[in-house]
C-alpha cells in the first residue's frame, strides 16, 4: 500500500491527470442549477438605488444581504487565509467583519495546529481548488473539501502556469457545471471575459469572481472596463477577486456595483494586519453605501456651481 507523501517542491495535491476517463466529460446540460436571479423574491439586491426619501441614512441591517445560492451574508468582504501567522487570522476576520474565509486543501502530514482550529465557528469556510490544473482536478478537490468539513461552498480556481496564475475559463466552466449539479455553491474565479461570465452563470455558478488584476499584484482594477460589462449583465453576484491592493480600490470596486470583494495579499502585506483588515471592512461598506445611494454625474470641461447663481443675490 502506498500513502502519498507531501512533496515540498510541488506543493500541489494533485499530480497530472491520468489517462482515465475524465469526469469533465459529463453531459453539458446546466441541469437544475438555476442561478439566483436578481428579482424581488431572489434576495439579490436590486441594482437600482433606493431614494432614501424616508431620510434613512444607511441600508437596514440584514436588508442588504449578499446572496449566494440561498445563503445570506451581511458582510461583503471575503478574506483569504493566506500565509500569515495563524493567530492573526481571527483578528483579521474580526476586524474586517468577514463572514467567509478561503482556505486550500493539501496532503496532510499532521493535524496539529490545523487552520480550522483558528477560524471562529460562525464563519463560512470557502475551500478553494488551488493546485487544480483542469476541471477534473477541481471536481476532485471540491469533493474532498466537502468530505473534510461538510461545506457545499467551493471557490473553483484552475490555473496551469505559475508566472501569471491566470484562471482557465474553459475548464472553470466545465467544473462549475459538474459541481453545481452536485449541489455545490460554486464560486468561480475567472478571467474577466463577459462571455465566459455568461457561460458560468448558465453552468450554475452562485456568483462570478473576475480578477481585478493578477493575483497578489496589488495593482487594483486593471480589468475595470470588462468587469463593468460583466456587472451590467450578471444575474448572480459579481465578486472581485485578486489584485485589489488597497482599501480605496476595494471601495472603487463596490462603487461601480460589485457585490463583494475578496482580498488577502493587501492585508497580509501590511505592517499592522488587523488594522488593514479593519480598513478594508470600512472601504467595502463605504463603497457599497455609495453605490446604493447613487453616485453623482461626472462632467467634462465645465464646472457645476454649488452655490446659488441668481445675479441679484451677488454682492457686486
Amino acid at each position: 500500500m502506498t500513502i502519498h507523501s507531501s512533496n515540498p517542491h510541488a506543493g500541489h495535491l494533485l499530480t497530472p491527470a491520468s489517462a482515465a476517463a475524465s469526469p469533465g466529460a459529463a453531459p453539458a446540460s446546466a441541469g437544475t442549477a438555476t442561478p439566483a436571479g436578481a428579482g424581488p423574491d431572489s434576495g439579490v439586491p436590486s441594482r437600482t438605488s433606493p431614494d432614501g426619501a424616508d431620510g434613512s441614512a444607511r441600508p437596514t441591517p440584514g436588508k442588504d444581504p449578499l446572496m449566494l445560492r440561498g445563503h445570506a451574508f451581511d458582510s461583503r468582504f471575503i478574506l483569504g487565509s493566506g500565509r500569515y501567522d495563524l493567530h492573526l487570522i481571527k483578528a483579521a476576520i474580526d476586524n474586517a467583519g468577514a463572514q467567509i474565509v478561503t482556505m486550500a486543501l493539501r496532503r496532510c502530514m499532521t493535524t496539529d495546529n490545523n487552520v480550522l482550529d483558528y477560524i471562529p465557528g460562525e464563519v463560512t469556510i470557502l475551500p478553494n481548488t488551488s493546485g487544480a490544473r483542469n476541471a477534473r482536478d477541481a471536481v476532485r478537490i471540491a469533493r474532498l473539501a466537502r468530505e473534510v468539513c461538510g461545506t457545499d461552498f467551493v471557490k473553483v480556481e484552475i490555473e496551469h502556469e505559475t508566472r501569471y496564475l491566470l484562471p482557465d475559463n474553459a475548464e472553470t466552466i466545465k467544473a462549475t457545471r459538474i459541481l453545481s449539479k452536485e449541489g455545490f455553491v460554486v464560486m468561480p474565479y475567472m478571467f474577466p471575459d463577459p462571455l465566459a461570465a455568461k457561460a458560468l452563470e448558465e453552468a450554475g455558478a452562485a456568483c462570478i469572481m473576475p480578477l481585478g488584476s493578477m493575483i497578489g499584484s496589488n495593482r487594483g482594477l486593471r480589468m475595470r472596463d470588462f468587469i463593468e460589462i460583466i456587472i451590467a449583465n450578471a444575474h448572480v453576484p459579481v465578486i472581485i477577486d485578486a489584485g485589489i491592493g488597497r482599501p480605496s480600490q476595494a471601495a472603487q470596486a463596490m462603487e461601480m456595483g460589485a457585490d463583494a470583494v475578496m482580498a488577502y495579499t493587501a492585508i497580509a502585506g501590511a505592517r499592522n494586519i488587523p488594522l488593514m483588515a479593519r480598513s478594508f471592512g470600512h472601504a467595502v461598506s463605504a463603497g457599497r453605501e455609495a453605490y446604493l445611494s447613487g453616485l453623482g454625474a461626472v462632467t467634462t470641461g465645465r464646472a457645476v456651481p454649488s452655490s446659488p447663481t441668481d445675479v441679484n443675490g451677488y454682492l457686486h
Binding site: L13, G82, L105, C108, V115
Partner: protein, 57 residues
C-alpha cells in the same frame, strides 16, 4: 510511506496521529465517506491520499 496491511481507514488515521474530523481520505481515487472508515479495509497495492485544510487563497 508504507504500512502493514490489512488495516482499516480508521486505524490508519490513528496510526498517523491525525484528527479524524480534520481529514478526508481517498482510496484509489475514491473518497471513503466517514461512515465507512471503520469497515473499509486497505490492502496491499491500495493508493491512499489523506488531505486536510491549510491556509490559502
Amino acid at each position: 510511506m508504507a504500512v502493514a496491511t490489512p488495516i482499516s481507514v480508521t486505524a490508519l488515521i490513528r496510526l498517523g496521529k491525525l484528527r479524524p474530523d480534520r481529514v478526508a481520505v481517498e482510496v484509489n481515487g475514491l473518497i471513503v465517506p466517514r461512515a465507512q472508515r471503520d469497515t473499509r479495509q486497505l490492502n496491499d497495492g491500495d493508493s491512499v491520499e489523506i488531505v486536510s485544510f491549510v491556509q490559502g487563497g
